[in-house]
Symmetry: C2
Subunit: 590 residues, 2 copies
């Protein structure tokens, strides 16, 4: 049975030593001292380890069942969900006005990692509710807010997002689901939506679907799409539950992973829905939810990698196999533990240096969201908008890769289901696909975000890296900033290549978009590792009661600089090869 | 339902245009003219597409069942197995003397790709029998050969290999299975073996297990290991089946993939076994089987990639989503097919350039095995011994990556089981693990094979690359040989780094072993692409009735050179960072 221990020490290090959250001055950050965040993380960590993690394999093996139109979740999910509700965790970073705890987004992200690492399929039930609540918070009328938010923030009602249809995923302009206006101001929603995570289940009293649909006679394509609130069970004027709505589960999808989450085909047969936000501006409203969901999915990449890594390390220390090439390290035993072997360490260091860098990247990104809500930093919103596809695409690709590497440490035991390592890879795989497949993230990054506000945000990013290197310049920092500068130069050269060639031939930019997304991810992790190195060098110079921790950070930073970051040169070379290698082959020759 | 079409044209191109097999002069190669190989490949291709491929998902969803001690294979497997037997396919490249067809190994490999691509789990039943038969052929007495080989080559009896025990996989010196000598010259075998592919099933009349075990009182560790033939059902002197032996299936493993193959825990309780080869030289005998199995596994990496690629291409041409950025390409339809989008093409070109390069690499490797059997080329054995870990490690890693990329093309449809793309990744995943996990391949490459015969074979490889570039030097070839030379230079620099640093500190070599294995793989695919470019340039210059085919080869070669091969520089940089980044972190800091 796989184990999970919340990496609280590392999160505390990032929050307080690296990001120094309590000194940032953003709304609510003043309360985030180390004792306070530690108390929250300890409580969440216990829930994650003791309640959610033991249900992870249960969810995988049992899956969900559709019985008489209602989805039954795996044994134990309902009890665990009630514990999550009772602790107020779903509303941790949602407004107190509607029953939330009003903490900053960065704390929701930190806690989200723990829950998601312990049980991704389970955590999606309240995770999606959070996203749906955010959309209603941002675009709902006062009535809608008071009707839905208290119940959703408590998770008495859960939420979903309904975009995909059988014939359209990314290209939502092709959507067929219809919303016909009624005399009372409501709409009748008809159509089929697929891949609806947490689409139905037995964990809550009601499910509030946010559904994209077209009002007949509206503009063609994506410009005619609106967003609707469609409750599974209708809500009476007094807020109590009324008759059922025309919403049903067509079937449950048989998936590669996240079996514990109910992925539904949803049928809407003249269901009553209510417009959320403006008519024909559905994509804008949905993007409030989507952007948040993308950050949440990025975090899943990190979270599954962390869980898989922990179990690979346990195995590598426990399994006796072979002898260290430089002499026995466990001479009294029949063999040495796996972890003495250089290639096992190479694999584990790859995982570790990714995970800790990714965690810093995630929490820094979350702090940008707080900064943008706060309005204190005028550049924060543009910067996190730029970074969102990088976070989503890079952390889920590399997170998946980390789970595959962790599985490899166990050899044949990694391939059989009993040890749980297969589940990490199968669960992590979806994060590269949902909320916009990673190729779409790359397109968003290169096709939209780079040029946003005349390129102001990407230039700001380069400036930030440059300033960091300048401001921290010491002989000791050179070994970290020199490779960071080289990689950042490659990233700038790639952006320049797009600017010079993309105008004439957009394919020259788009052919390199995926490589650019990864290059941006590596540079960002490089920046995080340089920041952590700077933090730990200072801690060691100032005197610390835990020098080993900081020495180990420096060792891991050196690994990242020596063995991960140099790939920037190859990625640049791929990008600069332009459109021809990618676009020349005739379609029928594939 | 996924489709599979045998890539016969590409195999024919490699056999006849690139490798020119019928001119090589190796034993049996004189018969391999294009008509003959085409007839074989057509017949095998039909079986693969029409019989094996439709059972692939059946095997995945039904799996195997252990009922009253006997494993039942999925519906349809028995009929299909009989068709494979009736066609004489299991003995295609085994000696006519024992009922085989006596064709060269290269044809067994070409046909093996088709069967494995269509249904990996199914193909393992006769694939492992082939390996077991080869071991008996190489190490058996005349009696053993006449007793077992005819039945095994016809697949009336199938074979297995039994190495792993619960506490030891790679480190077989720790083995506990015992073989106690009996007065009649036989042995009593007792112990438990795990992860035994095709360990039991209902496809054959008997199962011939090759089992590694220790004779009590023999040398310690791996030097005391011997190999035994242990039939499931005892064989009477007249060759007919007698009483059952003390062999039983403990349980079936629940695995991530290859559900159609029965992976068994095998219990030996005083079973009667017969020494195969010399006492205490079991590893040598087993390696006859292992080396062949490793090449077979390399081929599985290629095969799953090919199947997944074919289905990704079908989807990319069929699925309408979005518009080409340079203007609609399907203006009368609601949207353009996915394949117009640069990042979809980038993904498909990555797969295609890997697959076709890997196929050439595989068939060239197989021809080296024929050359070594033939004795005509004195360097062939050393060269294929060097290339075996590269083939196994690189093709299975990259093959798996290709299946993941193919799955990505389908978005959410790639994640649900209905479309079959998940199965390709789940099946391909095992190839990185079994027959020596890829980290062990890297260790074998750097720790043993590089220095074999004083480094003669790796130096011969470099010489071969150099000579190829010199011999084919034309202005048109420059664009292919220039990147090949650069990558080969990186590979040589890496080998040089190991020589200079590995003597002082073996960890300096082993820390870079995995990167070296990949670097060697990229250079080898680069060599194959340069050879194919040379072949196709000549065909175009000489006049060909299929210029498109050769132009497309050149386009794909250019892609590989522009976007895949440049990673050699990054891999060299990782290698040259040496032991410190990998070895410094204390074990308890993981």
């Amino acid at each position: 049975m796989p184990q999970y221990t919340a990496p609280i020490k590392d999160i505390q290090y990032i929050l307080h030593d690296v990001l120094k959250v309590s000194q940032q001055g953003f709304n609510g950050y003043g309360d985030l001292d180390a004792d306070f965040t530690s108390a929250i993380l300890d409580a969440a960590g216990s829930l994650a380890s003791d309640v959610l993690a033991p249900l992870n394999r249960v969810g995988d093996t049992q899956g969900c069942q559709l019985k008489e139109g209602i989805v039954q979740t795996p044994t134990g999910f309902k009890d665990a969900f009630n514990q999550i509700k009772d602790g107020g965790w779903p509303g941790l970073d949602l407004p107190e006005e509607f029953g939330g705890q009003g903490l900053p987004y960065v704390m929701g992200t930190a806690v989200g990692e723990l829950f998601s690492a312990a049980n991704q399929a389970f955590t999606m039930y309240h995770g999606l509710t959070h996203g749906a609540a955010s959309a209603i918070l941002a675009h709902g009328t006062d009535d809608q807010k008071s009707t839905y938010l208290p119940k959703m923030i408590s998770c008495d009602w859960t939420g979903t997002m309904n975009l995909t249809e059988p014939h359209c995923g990314t290209d939502l302009g092709l959507m067929r689901t219809k919303a016909v206006p009624q005399d009372d101001g409501s709409y009748r929603i008809s159509g089929q939506k697929i891949f609806i995570s947490a689409g139905d289940h037995d964990l809550s009293d009601n499910v509030i679907h946010l559904v994209l649909a077209k009002v007949p006679g509206g503009p063609e394509g994506i410009k005619g799409v609106s967003l609707f609130i469609v409750p599974k069970i209708q809500i009476k004027d007094d807020g109590s539950l009324g008759a059922s709505n025309g919403v049903s589960v067509g079937s449950l999808e048989d998936k590669m992973g996240i079996h514990g989450n109910s992925t539904c085909v949803m049928n809407y047969d003249g269901a009553t829905g209510y417009l959320l936000g403006d008519l024909n501006k559905g994509m804008r409203a949905m993007f409030t939810m989507m952007n948040e969901a993308r950050i949440g999915v990025a975090m899943q990449g990190l979270a599954q990698a962390e869980s898989a890594y922990q179990n690979a390390v346990l195995y590598a220390k426990d399994r006796l196999q072979g002898r260290a090439v430089t002499g026995a390290e466990n001479p009294d035993g029949p063999a040495d533990p796996l972890i003495v072997h250089p290639d096992i360490r190479r694999n584990l260091m790859d995982q570790k240096s990714f995970i800790e860098g990714a965690r810093a990247f995630m929490l820094w990104g979350a702090s940008l969201i707080d900064a943008s809500h706060d309005g204190a930093d005028p550049d924060a919103e543009g910067l996190i908008s730029l970074m969102t596809p990088v976070l989503k695409g890079f952390l889920t690709d590399k997170g998946y890769e980390a789970t595959v590497n962790a599985q490899q440490i166990l050899g044949g035991h990694g391939y059989i289901e009993e040890w749980g390592m297969s589940q990490y890879t199968r669960d992590a795989r979806i994060a590269m696909i949902y909320e916009g497949a990673n190729g779409v993230q790359a397109l968003d990054l290169v096709g939209r975000k780079l040029a946003l506000d005349s390129g102001k945000h990407v230039l700001g990013y380069f400036e930030m890296v440059k300033n960091f290197c300048k401001d921290t310049a010491t002989p000791q920092m050179d070994e970290f900033t020199t490779p960071l500068k080289a990689a950042s130069k490659d990233l700038q050269a790639a952006a320049m290549y797009f600017m010079q060639n993309g105008m004439k031939n957009p394919n020259a930019a788009l052919a390199g978009s995926y490589d650019f997304m990864h290059l941006f991810g590596y540079v960002s992790l490089g920046l995080m590792w340089a920041r952590m190195a700077n933090t730990s060098l200072k801690a060691l110079a100032d005197g610390t009661d835990d020098p080993e921790f900081h020495e180990n950070k420096l060792t891991t930073a050196r690994y990242f600089m020596a063995r991960q970051l140099p790939i920037s040169a190859t990625l640049l070379k791929r990008i600069e090869s332009g459109a021809d290698p990618v676009m020349t082959l005739p379609s029928d020759a594939f």
